[in-house]
């Protein structure tokens, strides 16, 4: 085969060697093709950043650094600042993770380690089904079911028992940062738990058998399994965080859409993705449009920075837990 190829297509020796260090042209072509695909990914990211930057030039020049620390967003007077949106984006995502990470880990541990087969299959299927529901459906459900529920039952409870914290003060409308965070938590839980389940399933049974053989309890065995899956679990959480930061429709329905920085989670807030989705279609005026596109650029950067921090944290934690797991 090789001879035939070489005979039919007399390639210059140099090129042939570049294409196929192993002597197989097909391998070389495949390698180049895959490299091109990977490079394409990189190019798309760079092209997006460039496009966002070039279209937001007007606002970048006009406001400079002030755009990042400004709190006011007034399209009529053309005063634009992104701080309130950055705050809303990060805090709502954090609330989501605080609620959803323990929940997701619990679901995954139950499904893999404890549930009998006849239960784990259908529950696992339902969890995956939840992940496929469009976000606008979550949003409508948020307005009509979740927000009234939080307003009637959860918020008054929090205010009564934790009202001494500035976090739980202010008028209760059922619409605000907390509701936004809760709906995000509900949306990212299926994603995180589905991935964590796969990760835990991939941990070899020999690990469990070894732990049990050493006299570990079921709980201690689970800890060993978790330690083994730590990097994968971290990846799952980052995936969930990415979805939370970028989520638009469901959040905008329940967060109150108000560019305001407040300590209280009962107050309305606003996220970067929501304000872009809300105002882009009807925005006229070059500076206004430019400011909205700069919000897109900032969303890109926030995602990037948060991801980087998350990965760093994970990297450190994993090293410790893997060490601890081994010691155990």
């Amino acid at each position: 085969m090789e001879e035939v190829l070489a005979h039919r297509t007399p390639l210059p020796e140099k090129l042939r060697r570049v294409l196929s260090p192993t002597g197989n042209v097909g391998d070389g072509v495949f390698r180049l093709l895959m490299f091109a695909v990977a490079l394409l990914m990189l190019l798309i990211v760079v092209a997006m950043i460039l496009a966002l930057a070039s279209h937001s030039m007007l606002s970048l020049r006009g406001f400079g650094f002030q755009f990042l620390v400004g709190r006011e967003w007034d399209p009529v007077k053309e005063k634009f600042g992104a701080l309130a949106f950055v705050f809303g984006t990060i805090v709502s995502s954090l609330i989501a993770l605080i609620i959803s990470v323990p929940l997701s880990l619990g679901i995954a541990i139950f499904l893999v380690e404890q549930a009998p087969r006849f239960l784990s299959r259908p529950i696992g299927f339902l969890v995956e089904l939840l992940a496929a529901i469009p976000s606008v459906v979550y949003g409508l459900w948020g307005i009509f079911v979740l927000a009234p529920f939080l307003r009637e039952h959860v918020d008054p409870f929090l205010e009564r028992w934790f009202g001494w914290l500035p976090l739980f003060r202010g008028p209760i409308t059922g619409i605000g940062l907390l509701t936004g965070g809760v709906i995000l938590a509900i949306m990212v839980t299926p994603i995180i738990s589905a991935v964590v389940r796969d990760v835990l399933e991939a941990v070899p049974d020999t690990q469990r058998e070894a732990a049990l053989a050493l006299g570990a309890t079921k709980w201690e065995t689970t800890l060993v399994v978790l330690a083994n899956g730590a990097p994968g679990i971290a990846g799952a959480i980052i995936l969930g965080l990415g979805r939370a930061i970028g989520e638009t429709m469901a959040v905008t329905m329940v967060i109150g859409n108000r560019a305001e920085i407040s300590l209280s989670v009962f107050h309305p807030s606003y996220t970067l993705a929501s304000v872009i989705a809300n105002e882009f279609t009807e925005a006229t005026g070059d500076l206004y449009l430019s400011a909205l596109i700069e919000l897109g650029l900032i969303l890109f950067l926030v995602t990037f920075v948060v991801n980087a921090i998350a990965r760093l944290l994970v990297w450190r934690v994993t090293r410790q837990t893997v060490g601890a797991g081994m010691a155990a």
């Binding site: 967003w73 009529v76 409308t173 905008t252 329905m253 859409n257 809300n278 105002e279 009807e282 925005a283």
Partner: protein
């Protein structure tokens, strides 16, 4: 084996050629008389525009019209960049933008209105608002439902001693545009502090996305107040407040009172028909009303398209008006129909009139 292979190939070739041939024939046959018009813009009149397009298409199968409801801002942008044959907008193009496209015409199609809706359990009659009271509620200066000024407008109505929660649109919208245009006219403080536009920096309240978002939050949360499109309120049986107009009458929003707002504003209506009819002086005028426009260029580059467009617009403001009632849009007053006719008649191609 090679024999059948060749046979298969021939069959495939014939099939492919037939398909291509049919495609060309269809396209060519259609291309002979078919004119395609592309429009984009306001979401508010979209249900009516789609109805018009489908009815007009039945009468004139050789004219195909496509309308995309991307929002008024988008409609203005698209016609500015000439990527569509006609734009549509709830607000008229600003003087500044019009400098760059001086031959853009505004043809009014129908009228719309914005109403105040609220959630106060146990009320048997609709609430009434004076303009200054409405403005001060949205400015956050009137904070309680049992405020003396609200009581003064609503004698005999028992109002709760509860905080008012304002709900406004969070997405840029012509509905917001009309509402804050009204507030800017009747309140100097609003005009100075907030101003008018499709998105504004709200002094108080929470934002709901779209009419459904505002309605959802008002319906779900007691003691809220918000504003939505008239059609939306009528179709969903929302409680709707009466607003005191410039003549001092409390007017409920209806198709008739909206049309009389346009009637009442006739004297102030300029030749280019770009006019805000909020706070109209007519005695029966509902004060938060507005036109919605089709935007077209006076000089059409393509004569066939221009002719089709002119005929269609003419049909809309005449035969088309009979579909407005069912869909709860207020029709244009007779005088404005005449002036819109003149606008349509002034459209030319290569300097020659198209009608």
């Amino acid at each position: 084996m090679p024999q059948s292979n060749r046979f298969l190939r021939t069959v495939m070739l014939v099939l492919a050629l037939t398909i291509i041939g049919v495609a060309i024939a269809c396209n060519g046959g259609g291309g002979g008389g078919t004119v395609k018009l592309q429009g984009a813009g306001a979401t508010y009149p979209n249900p009516l525009y789609q109805k018009w397009i489908s009815e007009y298409g039945k009468l004139n199968p050789n004219i195909r019209i496509d309308y995309q409801s991307i929002g008024s801002g988008g409609g203005q942008k698209q016609i500015k960049e000439r990527t569509v044959d006609f734009g549509a907008s709830d607000s008229f193009v600003s003087d500044q933008d019009l400098k760059n496209m001086p031959d853009l015409l505004h043809v009014p199609m129908v009228l719309g209105a914005v109403v105040i809706t609220y959630n106060l359990p146990g009320l048997s009659q609709p609430l009434r608002f004076s303009p200054d009271v409405a403005a001060d509620i949205f400015l956050g200066k009137i904070k309680k439902w049992d405020d003396a000024r609200i009581k003064a407008d609503n004698p005999g109505v028992s109002l709760p001693a509860a905080d008012i929660t304002v709900v406004h649109r969070s997405d840029g919208s012509g509905t917001t545009g009309v509402w804050v245009d009204y507030l800017s006219k009747i309140s100097a403080e609003w005009k100075e502090k907030v101003g008018a536009g499709v998105s504004v920096n709200w002094p108080v309240g929470i934002g709901g996305k779209g009419n459904e978002g505002v309605t959802g939050q008002v319906k779900q949360t007691p003691n809220t107040i918000g504003y939505v499109e008239l059609i939306y309120a009528l179709q969903n049986n929302l409680p709707v407040a009466l607003i005191k107009n410039r003549s001092g009458n409390f007017i409920p929003a209806s198709l008739e009172s909206v049309t009389s707002a346009a009637d009442g504003a006739l004297q102030n209506t300029p030749d280019d028909l770009r006019v805000s009819i909020t706070d109209s002086p007519g005695p029966n005028a509902y004060p938060v009303s507005s036109y919605t426009y089709i935007l077209v260029y006076k000089e059409q580059t393509d004569a066939a398209k221009g002719k089709a467009l002119v005929d269609y617009l003419w049909w809309c403001i005449h035969d088309g008006e009979k579909f407005t009632g069912d869909l709860k849009y207020a029709p244009l007053p007779g005088e404005i129909v005449k002036r819109a006719e003149a606008k349509i008649n002034s459209i030319t191609s290569g300097g020659r009139p198209l009608r």
